[in-house]
Symmetry: C2
Subunit: 456 residues, 2 copies
């Protein structure tokens, strides 16, 4: 067989041992907070029926779904016309029935509907699995990446929203972040604003534009609004709303005044206030909670609260987001089930922790002790000690003999092993083993019991 | 949108919260043993280049690889002739460049070659990820399932084989299995046998046949051998070898005698003996190590030791297997790198633990305390207690108020929550909260500090 120069598909990644330790640290920290809050893990298959996914992410999204070719003689059932005219779009459904998961939300909705009789409501689930999108790969954007979601369905209580704020606060504080902002807004307030301006039909254009305030500034937003059909008069009403300042309660007070004639808008204000009230009764660790009226988020299925999380310690887009959606399972025939959920952006959190050097020290040490020997006799002598150390829970390796001691030490250094035990004939005779601290270079002769006491 | 009756693709599965807890228990137990032995985790992408996978699993295997359709206008570059003649096989490589991982071994080989300059040899890696095969689904056989592998490359020391035996022993003992057998054999011994019979060219047919001794008995094996071209005389030589009995050393002693004229066969015996010697210097927990000359395993790339693990407590095929291969990375142009590896059959282990009721008690309890209230006032009163319990590491939930207490208790029971705290107006006034043990039904009035002491 000719040698193939190996590579991975573009936009996908291998994760090395050092990267895996750090990734696991992030996932484990977040998962343990999810569990602490009563969220339970599920997993769904990598492949879903294509029909389950199609039409859920818009036309652009549909194009980005990776389709899996049917097994066997798939062309036998291929659409004749599609083949002769080379119409890829038309051909797809005739040669592909399955596709790769595009996000965790639609599979979750499918799961809830399929398993509705086994589930106790409110159902609080978390899910940490990869998703795939045929996006053009670029810095920080991959074709395979993990999502890390917690959702609750079957409860309209705003306590759930308050708990999401607490989850973000606890998880990100546990990861060592010291200064981050949880932005909150409410789709009903955005609807209310569009309503009082008298342009409810332009709500999407409006939210898309004001969502960009951070990036393109007030002038940019105004220009975009004018292009989309808002008048100067509309903008005069919008401007003070967009530029609202003060504490969350100040903003809420002003919004109530502005939205006085919009029932929907006032409902949004009321929801926000209730969430603030919950949060006032607990103590946030490191998070700042900020009402941000420009927060819109792209996803159109949100109907109530919207969240987005940003770190203030590093230049980075949002590291989390979510919100409430009122009819997620409707697409699978189960109507009237409300839900809310949040997501952590694990890849971005990784980059932030890396930049701020927040990964725990020693997280690159996976083996604690390496035993080095010179020959088979040393190896055999070492075996009971090896087993004893492992029985004490100490990650220990015995380097296969017959290799120069220098190379064995290199192995320890490359693997960041902090302690090395050397067993030669002197050591076997005296029962005092050479114990070396690889960080300080210190070396001493110790009995097995002394070594056990040191490394435990 | 019309309601779709939701389902998952055949051969794939959803995992419920209860199943996930059990699956995590198995994976975490095995992973922690891998780590203790110095194996480091890596992950590789779900999709590999189709060229990386093709030709590595035989013609039958190639057919079972799930191919991913190219994104965009994939028919534009489709093979003209393949489309007009509807030749699926011919078409595939022109419309699909990527495929789903079929096992963890080939991606590992690809990883080692691609990252050879970052890796310290011997490289000990473990990997726990799903793989996909377009097999016909049946009981216990899925199209998506997890593999759980540990491999070492760059060390020909038989210490690695001894460590694999120790890993199986420790991991399966930790999972609660009390009686299981690690079968060991060596491809060189099988070669030696074919050699002394004078039919080295029939080694595959021979090993395939004797591998079935368990299933089809001696007569079945003899018939199959005759069909494949072995003579009565050959079988007279083979029979006593197949039926070897006694201790491992007895068998080894007899084999040495039988294989006296085969250099390869004797080398196999020597390797086995060295492994036994290592194991004699440690204490196995629950495993029995058994030299089984009929053990062949299907994979042709093994060149030295072969392993297979069976439980003796339940009727179940092998729950693990592996062996040494001498040139795995050769297919990607890196020659002469020896390796050895083992795999755990997680789905089968799951079924065994389920049958033997070996999952730890309380493993279905993910939330420890549920706080129940009657109204908003109770909720707000409960929030600091909720936060306090969580700060102590106790998984705690606050049920959103406004639901009948009976339904809140049902929620606790369905979720196997062992303790419930009830906060009504009496409780708020007195500061003595109702604390209910859901297992015994016992109920008492306790202060917050008393509750903390109870549940911690």
């Amino acid at each position: 067989m000719a040698a193939i120069k190996p590579s991975v598909p573009k936009g996908t990644r291998d994760f090395s041992p050092a990267e895996m330790v750090k990734r696991n640290y992030i996932f484990d920290t977040i998962k343990s907070v999810f569990r602490k809050y009563g969220y339970q893990q599920i997993e769904t298959p990598t492949m879903e029926n294509l029909s389950t996914l199609t039409g859920k992410y818009g036309d652009e999204g549909d194009k980005l779904i990776f389709k899996v070719l049917n097994s066997g003689d798939y062309l036998a059932k291929a659409n004749e016309q599609a083949l002769t005219t080379r119409n890829s779009n038309l051909a797809t459904s005739s040669i592909s029935e399955k596709a790769l998961r595009y996000d965790l939300t639609v599979p979750f909705a499918r799961y809830v509907v399929m398993h509705q009789n086994e589930i106790t409501m409110p159902f609080k689930r978390f899910q940490v699995q990869p998703v795939w999108r045929a996006d053009r790969p670029q810095k920080g954007r991959y074709r395979e990446f993990y999502q890390c979601d917690a959702d609750v369905v079957g409860s309209d209580s705003l306590l759930n929203e308050a708990e999401f704020i607490m989850i973000y606060d606890e998880a990100l504080s546990n990861l060592g972040l010291k200064d981050f902002t949880i932005k909150i807004n409410n789709r009903k307030i955005l609807s209310g604003i569009a309503e009082i301006i008298g342009k409810p039909e332009l709500i999407i254009d409006m939210t898309v534009a004001i969502d960009k305030l951070d990036k393109i500034g007030l002038n940019g937003v105004v220009n975009e609004l004018m292009e989309k059909g808002f008048t100067r008069e509309d903008i005069d009403k919008l401007e003070p709303i967009i530029l609202l300042e003060g504490t969350n309660y100040d903003k809420l007070h002003k919004l109530r005044h502005i939205l006085a004639s919009s029932e929907t808008g006032l409902k949004g204000c009321h929801e926000l206030e209730e969430i603030f009230e919950y949060i006032n009764n607990i103590k946030l660790h490191r998070a700042t909670l900020e009402l941000d009226i420009t927060l819109a988020r792209g996803l159109n299925y949100y109907t109530g609260s919207i969240f987005e999380v940003k770190t203030n310690e590093a230049a980075m887009g949002s590291i989390g987001g979510g919100g409430r959606y009122d009819d997620l399972t409707g697409m699978f025939g189960l109507k009237g089930l409300t839900g809310a959920g949040i997501s952590f952006g694990a890849d971005r959190i990784y980059d932030v922790l890396q930049e701020l050097e927040l990964f725990p020290e020693g997280s690159n040490q996976t083996t604690k002790v390496l035993i080095c020997t010179f020959d088979k006799g040393g190896e055999v002598y070492a075996l009971p000690l090896l087993q004893q150390l492992r029985a004490e829970g100490v990650n220990t390796e015995l380097y296969p003999s017959g290799t120069k001691i220098k190379k064995q030490f290199d192995y320890a250094n490359n693997k960041n092993v902090p302690y090395v035990i050397v067993i030669g004939s002197d050591e076997i005779e005296s029962g005092h083993l050479t114990f070396k601290n690889m960080t300080t270079g210190e070396q001493e002769k110790l009995t097995v019991n002394q070594i056990l006491a040191k490394v435990k």
